[in-house]
Symmetry: C2
Subunit: 387 residues, 2 copies
């Protein structure tokens, strides 16, 4: 693959991931983990499409921290913050933002989504998320990815030719830092470490490290082989087309000696919830299309039409934009396909009015999540043999 | 100088900084800034000397965040967090810890103390503290230093032979990142940057950058020449012996075209406050001597005797350990010598029982700080001609 197709653009159809059926390795009842539901954000900063107003970054962060606080209050399980190095995103240092969120929340898990590990130093990343783990009382996670956006490569002096090698090497170092207090390590993209301790150690015995993939078999197999939970970003196309990645992941995990039931699989998707379906589309489309078209122009995707958008929020689309019932229907449809353990929704792809985001979080936490959890538990109970 | 004397050990006497008298450049009334009083910590983690108990890092951080919260509540102006990469300190990622503190405080300024800039990437540092500035509503500062402890050099692959050159180059890049949104830069110790923007931009128009010095004329002149506020760490000897650094700083600033009255000078010192003087010494000595002797062994300093400690907390010593009245007396004595603008105290050099630290912060904020501010304001009013 080339760097430019490293995330699935709107119409990408994955074709090479494998043939197994998706029910192949769904977790059995004994080991089924409670299904986790959460949100993620890149703390983007785009103008209000009705008024033209662009928030000050300080205001955007203030709004954002209220979003996380509310997500915690309504009982969502996870909140993720991504990393971008552009003027239209406020989040280049996820651990710092998450630490502020940690102090204002009690139960919600806090993860990067993603840490662009390829262009960072795993030692610093570990130290920051270990510190986050301490200030949050053991709620930190790292979701590492190769980077969908590539602006961090020139900024930190990395060569895009090393795109995959960088990630591979740094991921392995990160795992070593997590598993050993005193580390010796040598590689090609970071100075060697000779029997040095890395501190602080986290509150959790092992800091969870997820691998985020955008639809590349190679990344999928790596996550599985390392026995790491995988987050599959599906932000375009028909989600069912990504099922082969879940199969590939589970087969590769088993092949490497890991029981897939003990790992984790997350779907990370775009979406929004409102009381009525038409309003959901009206609220969501302007900021969403602004941002997707901005990114699309950079990557050579065609502009998004309103018709395409409406199609993308049907049952077979990747945008979960609708009423609570519609979101539940789609998420259960995805569960039946993927048998995943976690579902994360990115509500503000472009900056939405704060009140709308808060209302969407409230609906997601109070009307979508409880039903989804119950329905998935039922499915786990009534059809254990299929898993 | 060599790396091993990079901070003033207990008996160091500075000798080469200059000859001017210290009243030479005290701020005049018109430009006098309100005197700032604060605390700093490395979030050290040493056993309780009475019980042998070593806190879990998570508990130490929890205690620490309560310390900052209280410091804010009692009206202190600044809280600093240092950077160490050792098992006996929990703080290797100051911005992350400060971000958690930001969410729990309202008014207190939050600074690193220090960021070991020599072994870090100024771009990451800027992004983290800019993010901290956003989550704190404009209360972030960076205090950059060459690193008193040197464990970060091998960990991040730097050569101690480049000790000063690294700092110099990285400090200049940090200032460039602060002053320009889109940066082009080339140097010897970090990949070049070719017209790239660095985000997020902070809430404050300019993120304050202080330079911390341990007693080296070269560092003093650099801070002054760059027009940066300087924090002078005095943790041993007779503070009056460091006066020449303040003079050198002001002369060098003027020589470079900066009015010293517009810059800032901070004294960073060790100390502790309790209701009675004997108790202050009893509380403070065990943990303090444990940590100072641990560091001393690494650096070849002789062990600290109780007699030396008692001498060090006299009027002419560098340890501000005593009653509120004693601290006020010493701090005013220092003000008469240095005419500085900020005074930061490190209370827990080794880990003290949490209740003692909280009580010391309360006394420092409610009994020391208000008197100190008033007395210094009086001095500024009655003797403007001497400044």
């Amino acid at each position: 693959m080339t760097v430019n197709d490293r995330t699935n653009p709107p119409d990408q159809t994955p074709t090479t991931a494998g043939e197994a059926t998706t029910n192949d390795a769904m977790p059995n009842e004994a080991t089924a983990k409670p299904f986790e539901i959460g949100l993620y954000s890149f703390v983007e900063l785009t103008p209000n499409q009705a008024t033209g107003e662009l928030l000050a970054p300080e205001q955007r962060i203030r709004d954002f921290l209220e979003e996380v606080e509310l997500a915690d209050q309504v009982g969502l399980d996870v909140f993720g913050v991504g990393e971008h190095h552009r003027p239209d995103y406020v989040s280049s240092a996820p651990a710092v933002i998450l630490a502020a969120a940690a102090a204002r929340t009690k139960r919600i898990r806090l993860t990067s989504a993603v840490t662009v590990l390829s262009s960072d130093d795993p030692v610093r990343v570990f130290q920051q998320f270990s510190s986050l783990d301490l200030v949050s009382g053991g709620r930190a996670e790292i979701m590492a990815g190769r980077g969908s956006f590539i602006e961090s490569f020139p900024l930190f002096g990395y060569d895009l030719q090393d795109y995959d090698e960088l990630f591979d090497e740094k991921l392995r170092l990160l795992l070593k830092l997590r598993d050993e207090e005193v580390v010796s390590w040598q590689g090609g993209h970071r100075p060697a470490i000779d029997k040095l301790g890395v501190y602080p150690r986290p509150a959790q015995e092992r800091l969870p490290v997820w691998v985020a993939v955008g639809g590349t078999p190679q990344s999928t197999v790596r996550a599985a082989t390392l026995g790491l939970p995988m987050a599959l970003a599906i932000i375009g196309g028909n989600p069912a087309q990504f099922a082969p990645y879940a199969d590939l992941y589970r087969r590769a995990a088993r092949q490497a000696g890991h029981d897939p039931a003990n790992l984790g699989l997350s779907l990370n998707m775009h979406g929004y919830v409102a009381e009525n379906s038409r309003q959901a589309g009206e609220d969501y489309y302007p900021a969403y299309s602004l941002m997707m078209n901005r990114i699309g122009r950079e990557r050579g995707w065609p502009p998004l039409s309103r018709e395409q958008f409406e199609a993308s929020r049907s049952l077979h689309g990747a945008n979960l934009v609708g009423t609570p019932d519609e979101i539940i229907e789609r998420a259960l449809h995805h569960y039946d396909i993927f048998g995943h353990d976690r579902f994360l929704l990115q509500i503000s792809v472009g900056t939405l009015p704060h009140a709308q985001v808060l209302r969407a979080i409230e609906l997601f936490g109070t009307e979508v999540a409880p039903v989804l959890r119950r329905e998935i538990e039922n499915r786990q109970r009534v059809r254990p043999e299929s898993r």
